[in-house]
Symmetry: C2
Subunit: 158 residues, 2 copies
DNA sequence: TCAAATTCATTCGTATGCAAATGATATCAG
DNA sequence: CTGATATCATTTGCATACGAATGAATTTGA
């Protein structure tokens, strides 16, 4: 309890602040950032337990390519919320595994087009059902109604 | 819209699945993991805009040490939800900046004790008010009631 | 007691994640 | 038309994040 090395002045301060709503009593576990980080960690762990050979960002890239088809690396990054440096690493690793293929844009020579390979398409089709399970397990501590509320509010923050 | 390279068989499949609740229509942006990742990214960005010289994990370490006083590196990691390898890096960097100091445990020679320096204590006392601002800004898209609901449900998931 | 299991810390390897700088290309404005 | 801007991609550097392996120290249990 309390802060260590608490001096007499600190005790006095505490009394004053108690009248003011205990403002100095900062608890990390009540902060939205800390809980958000832990919830995210838990989800990543659940993801890994169901899909061991792909990370959530890699899955996101494949799922988005499956949804929209060939697109530029930069545009893909925008759609899956990754900056250019991050998306490059993700795509490089997917390419190394033969799940996506790259091509130069014929008109705009700056652009690098990304698309699923046949193998990548098979993989994402196989994995999407597992992703539904992962979502369910992540939300399992909530009732259906709570989960709906949570997703609505979370979307407002994202 | 729809999947690229859609064949006649795929169109047939779509009709069948439409009767079954459109199960094949997987959208990344509706998945809790993806939204959680984006909400977390947004929070980190808000954090950085207010506290530029410390990361959220570094802040968490200092705040926890301020709360509970000297503890072992391993125990600190448990309290701030970081594995041993991660917490070591965080503490190493805080040590290099003179915000924490390390000492060997006299009885249990495996343990490495971590504590705030005077400078570290000053820093965290100065930063805690900013952390409250960060929390407020992160939750700003929600009403007070929504924020309370959100935090309650998020805690259940973390 | 003492071998087995556990705990604490470190190290290595891999994978995000982002800021900043750079180079190539494309677009815009005067 | 052309210089200023903007966009796309890459690279570098730093900071989490975690699995797995390792070594040292402690605790457990037969």
């Amino acid at each position: 309890m309390g802060r260590p090395q608490m001096s007499g002045e600190d005790n006095l301060l505490r009394l004053v602040e108690a009248e003011d709503g205990d403002e100095n009593n900062y608890h990390l576990q009540d902060q939205v950032g800390f809980i958000l980080r832990k919830a995210h960690q838990r989800h990543v762990s659940i993801f890994a337990s169901h899909i061991g050979d792909l990370t959530p960002p890699q899955f996101a890239a494949l799922a988005k390519l499956y949804d929209i088809g060939e697109t530029s690396q930069n545009q893909l990054g925008t759609l899956i919320a990754m900056d250019a440096a991050t998306v490059k690493g993700v795509i490089d690793r997917l390419k190394a595994r033969g799940l996506v293929e790259l091509a130069k844009h014929e008109v705009d020579k700056r652009r690098l087009l990304v698309n699923l390979t046949a193998e990548g398409r098979e993989a994402i089709e196989r994995l999407i059902p597992l992703a539904r399970t992962i979502t369910e397990e992540t939300l399992a501590p909530l009732t259906a109604k709570e989960a709906a509320t949570f997703l609505r509010l979370l979307a407002k923050l994202a």
